[in-house]
Amino acid sequence: MTKKRRYSPLVMLFEFGKLGKNSFFFVVFLYVIKADSTSLFITYGRIIFLLAVVLTVFSIIYQWFTHRYELDDKSFHLYKGLFNKSERIIPFSKIQNINRRAPLFHRIFNMTSIHFETGMIGDNAAVTFKVISQKEAERIETFLKSATKHNEVYPNDGFDVPPVEVGHHAPNRIIHFQSTRKDIFKASFTSLSFLILIPFIGSFYFKTNEIFDVRHTAEGLFERMISTWWAVAIIVIVLTIASVAFGIVKTFLKYGNYEISSDSDYIYISKGVIDETAFSISKERVQAIEIEQSLLKRWFGLAGVKLTSVGSLSSGEHKLEVNTLYPFLPVHKAYAMIADILPSYTITKEMTRLPKKVFWLRMLWPSWFWLIVTGFLLYFKPTILKLEQAWLILSVVLLFWILGVRWLDFFHTRYRMNKHFMQFMQFKKGVLKTSLFISKREKVIEVNVTRNLVQKRLGLASIRTINRGKPIRHAGVDDVPIEFANAFVKWYKDRENEVTVE
């Protein structure tokens, strides 16, 4: 327990130093390089620069005077402001990392800087002491540690990432997937990677045109070649084969030698033909699973599996990442693999569709985009390809396009709350590319339900879940029946049953 304190006055000196460093370039530019300049630009530049410096100096002093901190036995209290007063409390238990650094400036004065990092994102993410005496830093750190002694905050987070070795396996790992030649073929077609050659070919064609200058040397060999149909056919065939081969090679280099294995705690992925890379994902830290299918993947019966996970905190950095298991898994294999690798997740294939009335709501809802575009078209009435009614055609086409998108979206949207074995929420949506989102209740960090006037009228609501990730993962479905939204809120409220606290 301590009293309210100001930060060290050296903070001001440190900030002044930083200001000096940042304004160095401007000083050199405005007063050395352009010293003799009388241009208006430079004069105004100097005025603005001086104003900025004065304001910054003032704000540094003001901040030092108004900012204070205090520790009670459980949390930090940070005070700010004179006219706009604020007091912020950050419980010690939320501190995940402590970072101490003492650059040259700090060492000269025998000081240090210390950051207490939390799980938040943004400016206020950490409790920062920019300049603090060694003694005070030590005192706060030990104080914090003794206050949270039974749950160690630092640095052991219980998740030390095991070394990932390329090439050979620990005996207790189970291999779930190894890419075969067939997988690579399928993958190269669905990823359309062979199309990559088209722009190259296009530019090649125009380049050769320039080189051979087709127009002027009409007798040129190239021109003659191009002008016979069988030559064109051969060129097309050769190029097609080349681009397909290119696509396959490219896919092979990227996804050949792909292997997914796991043991009880980690998932291991190794990939690459020339450069082998390998990494691991902690199973515990998987926040959500997503199964994605593009139109082509649906036709080929493939799916991609994405895991949103929070990286190890012991590395000192707050890593949140999304990992793709393998983007071209056969669907049944994808489901089976999730069941194998993450047995705590079960995916239910039967999901509920939105009520019929939502279909009409979606279809009849005004499209602002269409209205604005049509407004413009009506006003300007552009003539395209000598067609005077072009605006009308464009408007109608756009309308059908929008309705088509809405229809597909409605058709693909499904949801499911799983309450039996484990607690899950599943959402599926998408227009051409569908994605199925699954998260455990304990991993959902927040939920909300919204209703606009129309939804109120029709007994509908929009539900959202928020998961950790980078960026924060919002998922949800619009226009579910209100009864389901209520059940959803109740479901989330019951999360206390499965969450264990320290």
Binding site: I89, P91, E446, N452, N486, V499
Partner: protein, 164 residues
């Protein structure tokens, strides 16, 4: 909506309406002042025609906004509810678009009270919480209630879930 499922009940301080009315009025005054200056400059230096058109459109929006800012504080006050228990912070707000938020206490990372000059005049404070992915503010509570709520949330939030 979720009324049957112990939806939040507590309300904001009634003075919130006044605070909002005054702050909206100040904002509107500044806005109209800027518009007025722009109109003056427009006439004085006879700017291009489309600028006048733009200014007129802006004025129309500002007028609509002005009318709305007279209604909005009452609606907002009427529909704001909050509650905090050991498990959740619950917020319910919005007249036209109603929103019900559920934030588990264990996910709250920091909590703060804030007080600007206007709030101080009516003895009010705002309480804001930050989680790992969002921040929420209860805009106006009597100062004592705000401090109480802040300390209460801090106590509840201290609890750490085993795996975050």
């Amino acid at each position: 909506m979720t009324s049957t499922l112990n939806a939040p009940q507590k309300r904001l301080a009634k003075e919130a309406i006044k605070v909002w009315l005054i702050s909206d009025m100040i904002a509107n005054l500044i806005g109209f002042l800027v518009l007025g200056i722009l109109f003056y400059l427009d006439i004085r230096f006879s700017w291009k025609e489309w600028i006048r058109l733009l200014l007129i459109i802006l004025t129309v929006f500002a007028l609509i906004g002005g009318v709305w800012s007279l209604i909005h504080p009452f609606l907002s006050y009427k529909n704001w509810r909050y509650d905090a228990d050991e498990q959740f912070l619950q917020l319910k707000l919005g007249a036209i678009k109603e929103m019900h938020q559920l934030v588990p206490m264990t996910k709250i990372q920091s909590v703060a009270t804030e007080q600007g000059p206007l709030l101080r005049r009516y003895g009010l404070c705002s309480v804001s919480v930050e989680t790992m992915g969002s921040s929420h503010t209860i805009p106006a509570l009597p100062k004592r209630a705000a401090i109480e709520l802040r300390n209460q949330i801090a106590t509840y939030a201290k609890i750490k879930e085993v795996e975050q």
